[in-house]
C-alpha cells in the first residue's frame, strides 16, 4: 500500500498528503512508538484507535512537530520533512485540533481564529480587525458552525461551539491536513453530530483528516480507514467497509 503511490511516481496530487514511515520515538528508556507507518490522502478521513497508552497522542505530536521522532521519515506529498516545532508543521499546511482546544477564553472568536497569524498592516502591526471578522464569519458559515457572533468571547460559548471554533481555525489554516485529537470526547450527542458533519465537509473539500477517537461507533461513521495501535506499534490497518467493530476491538485488545 505504501509503495504503490510512490512507485507510480505521479504528481503531488497522487502522493499521500501525509506519509509516516517506521516512526520510532523514545522517551528515555521507554519506547513510545516503534516503527509506525501510515498514510493519509486528500479527501480521506483516517482514524487512529487504540487503548490508553498505545501511542496515539505521541504519534499526533510527532506529526504536529511537538515531538521529533528518533527514527523514521515524515513525508508531505512526497517531500521528506523534519519538524522540530509546531510552526514547522504549520508551514506545510498541517493543523492540529488538540483535545483542550488551545483557545484564549478571554478573547473573541475572530481573534482566536487568527491568533498568532493576525492580519496586520504597517510597521506597528496594526490589526485589521474588520477583515479578520469578515473572514472568520466566512469560515464559520462555510462549515455551518453556529455561534452568536464572531465578536462573542470564547468563554461564553458552549463546548460544541468552542470545538467548532477550533476546528474552523484548523480548516482555515490547514490547507492540507487537519489532525484531531478526540474531537468529541467532551461533547453531548447533538454537538458530536455537528462535529461529525464538519468532518464530512472537510473530506468533501479535499482535505486529509487524521482523527484519534475512542468512540468506535464514531470511527465507523466518519472514517474511511482505521489504523489500530497497541503498545506503541501498529496492530493492524483496515478499510472501514471491509471490517467490523468486533475485529477492531480484538486488534485493540490483542485478544483473538
Amino acid at each position: 500500500m505504501e509503495t504503490e503511490a510512490r512507485a507510480s511516481g505521479g504528481t503531488a496530487v497522487d502522493l499521500p498528503t501525509l506519509e509516516l514511515r517506521s516512526i520510532t520515538k523514545r522517551f528515555g528508556g521507554v519506547t513510545a512508538l516503534s516503527g509506525v507507518s501510515l498514510e493519509v490522502s486528500r479527501g480521506e478521513v483516517v482514524a487512529i484507535v487504540g487503548d490508553n497508552g498505545a501511542g496515539k497522542s505521541t504519534l499526533i505530536k510527532s506529526v504536529a512537530g511537538v515531538h521529533s521522532p528518533e527514527e523514521g521519515e515524515i513525508r508531505i506529498e512526497g517531500e521528506l520533512v523534519r519538524f522540530s516545532e509546531p510552526n514547522d508543521s504549520r508551514e506545510y499546511g498541517i493543523e492540529v485540533v488538540y483535545q483542550d482546544l488551545a483557545l484564549a477564553p478571554n478573547l473573541d472568536i475572530a481573534t482566536n481564529m487568527f491568533l498568532g497569524r493576525e492580519l496586520v498592516r504597517g510597521p506597528l502591526q496594526i490589526l485589521r480587525k474588520r477583515e479578520m471578522r469578515r473572514q472568520a464569519q466566512e469560515i464559520l458559515d462555510e462549515f455551518k458552525i453556529r455561534v452568536p457572533s464572531v465578536r462573542a468571547t470564547v468563554r461564553t460559548l458552549s463546548g460544541g461551539q468552542r470545538q467548532g471554533v477550533a476546528i474552523g481555525r484548523a480548516t482555515h489554516w490547514g490547507k492540507r491536513l487537519v489532525v484531531m485529537d478526540e474531537p468529541t470526547a467532551a461533547l453531548g450527542v447533538a454537538e458530536t453530530a455537528r462535529v461529525e458533519a464538519i468532518i464530512h465537509r472537510m473530506r468533501e473539500r479535499g482535505l486529509a483528516v487524521l482523527i484519534v477517537s475512542h468512540n468506535l461507533d464514531q470511527v465507523f461513521r466518519v472514517a474511511d480507514r482505521i489504523y489500530v495501535m497497541r503498545r506503541g506499534s501498529l496492530a493492524g490497518h483496515r478499510t472501514v467497509s471491509e471490517t467490523t467493530s468486533n475485529e477492531i476491538v480484538s486488534l485493540i485488545t490483542g485478544l483473538a
Binding site: A102, L115, E118, L127, E191
Partner: protein
C-alpha cells in the same frame, strides 16, 4: 457549497446573545464619581479646577507606572519594582545632568534606556528563565533601589535641567504639562494594547499562555517587551517625580508600588491576567489621587492614610478575586 447531510439542531447551540457585560473599568469611574461627590461635601476646597488639575499632576507620577504595570498584568505578570525603577531613572537624570553636565534631553534619554535594560532583565528572567515574576521583580525592587541610592551616594541632587522641570511643573495654559503628557501616553498605550498585534497577544498570553504558545504567539519575546514597556513608563513617572520635587534622591517614590498596583486593579485589570485596560488604570489612579487629596484636605494624618491605602488594595484585590470566581461560574 452543496451539502446534503442534515445538521442536527442542538438546544444549547441556539444562538443566544449574552447580555452585554459591564466594562471592567466601570467600577473605577463609579467610584470616582461617588468619592468625588462625598469629598465635594466634606472638603470645601476639593471641587475646584485648580485642585483637580493639581491632583492630576500628582497622580501622573504613579499614573505612568500604572500604565506600564497594565501591560505586564494583562500578560499575567506583575512588576513590584516600578517605583524603584522610576527612582533609578530619576537619579540617573540627576547625576548625569547635575554632576556630569549632560543636557536635559540626553539625560532623560539615557535614563529611559537604563530603564529599558531593567525591563529587559526582568523580562528575560521571567519569560525565558521561567522564574516567578513576583520574585524577580521583588528582587529587582531591592536591586534598583539600591542602585539609585548608590548612584547618588545618598545625597539629593537639586538644580535639575529646565527640560525636566518643565515636564514636571510647566503649564500649557492652565493645564500642567505632566497631565497633558499623561493623556498622550495613555492614549498611545490604549492604542497599542487594543489595536496592535503585540497588545492583543498580551491578552491572549494572559488568558491562556499554553494556547498562545500553540497558536504561534511569540510568547517569550512579547512578555519581555511588556516588562520593558513597564520599566520605561515607570522611568517617565520617576523623572516627573524628581522634577516635581526638584530633588533627585535615591529614596524618591518609596512605597509607590502599592499605589500603582491598587490603581491598576481598581481600574479593572485582573491580577489573573487577560483582562484590563489602561483607561481603567487612569481612572484607578485618579480615584486613588482624589482619596489621598481629600484626606489631605480634611487633615487626616499620613499614618491613617497609609492604613486606608492598604485597606483599599486588599478591597480592590478582593473584588478582583470575586469577579474571577463569578466569571468561572458564569462560563
Amino acid at each position: 457549497m452543496a451539502s446534503t447531510e442534515v445538521v442536527p439542531e442542538a438546544e444549547d447551540d441556539v444562538p443566544s446573545r449574552r447580555q452585554r457585560t459591564v466594562p471592567e473599568w466601570m467600577g473605577a469611574v463609579v467610584g470616582t464619581l461617588v468619592i468625588g461627590a462625598i469629598l465635594t461635601v466634606l472638603a470645601p476646597n476639593f471641587m475646584s479646577t485648580r485642585n483637580l488639575l493639581n491632583v492630576l499632576a500628582q497622580v501622573s507620577v504613579f499614573g505612568f507606572m500604572a500604565a506600564g504595570q497594565t501591560f505586564v498584568m494583562i500578560a499575567r505578570g506583575i512588576d513590584l519594582s516600578v517605583a524603584a525603577t522610576g527612582a533609578l531613572a530619576g537619579t540617573v537624570v540627576g547625576v548625569l545632568s547635575i554632576e556630569h553636565g549632560f543636557s536635559g534631553g540626553t539625560s532623560v534619554l539615557i535614563a529611559i534606556l537604563v530603564a529599558m535594560f531593567v525591563g529587559l532583565v526582568h523580562g528575560v528572567l521571567v519569560a525565558y528563565g521561567r522564574l516567578p515574576a513576583f520574585i524577580v521583580t521583588l528582587g529587582g525592587l531591592s536591586v534598583w533601589r539600591g542602585a539609585a541610592l548608590e548612584l547618588t551616594g545618598g545625597i539629593n541632587n537639586t538644580g535639575l535641567p529646565d527640560l525636566v522641570t518643565w515636564l514636571a511643573r510647566g503649564q500649557i495654559g492652565p493645564v500642567p504639562v505632566p497631565v497633558l503628557l499623561m493623556i498622550v501616553v495613555f492614549a498611545a498605550c490604549g492604542f497599542v494594547l487594543t489595536r496592535t498585534r503585540w497588545g492583543m497577544n498580551l491578552y491572549a498570553i494572559g488568558g491562556d499562555e499554553e494556547a498562545a504558545v500553540r497558536a504561534g504567539v511569540p510568547v517569550k519575546r512579547y512578555t519581555t517587551f511588556a516588562y520593558m514597556a513597564c520599566s520605561s513608563l515607570s522611568a517617565i513617572g520617576g523623572i516627573i517625580l524628581v522634577g516635581r520635587l526638584d530633588s533627585a534622591g535615591g529614596s524618591v517614590a518609596a512605597g509607590y508600588e502599592l499605589n500603582v498596583i491598587a490603581a491598576v486593579v481598581i481600574g479593572g485589570t485582573s491580577l489573573f491576567g487577560g483582562v484590563g485596560s489602561v483607561w481603567g488604570a487612569f481612572f484607578g489612579a485618579f480615584l486613588m489621587g482624589i482619596i489621598q487629596n481629600g484626606m489631605n484636605l480634611m487633615g487626616i494624618s499620613s499614618f491613617i492614610q497609609m492604613m486606608v491605602l492598604g485597606s483599599i488594595i486588599v478591597l480592590a484585590i478582593g473584588a478582583d478575586v470575586m469577579r474571577k470566581r463569578y466569571a468561572k461560574q458564569g462560563g
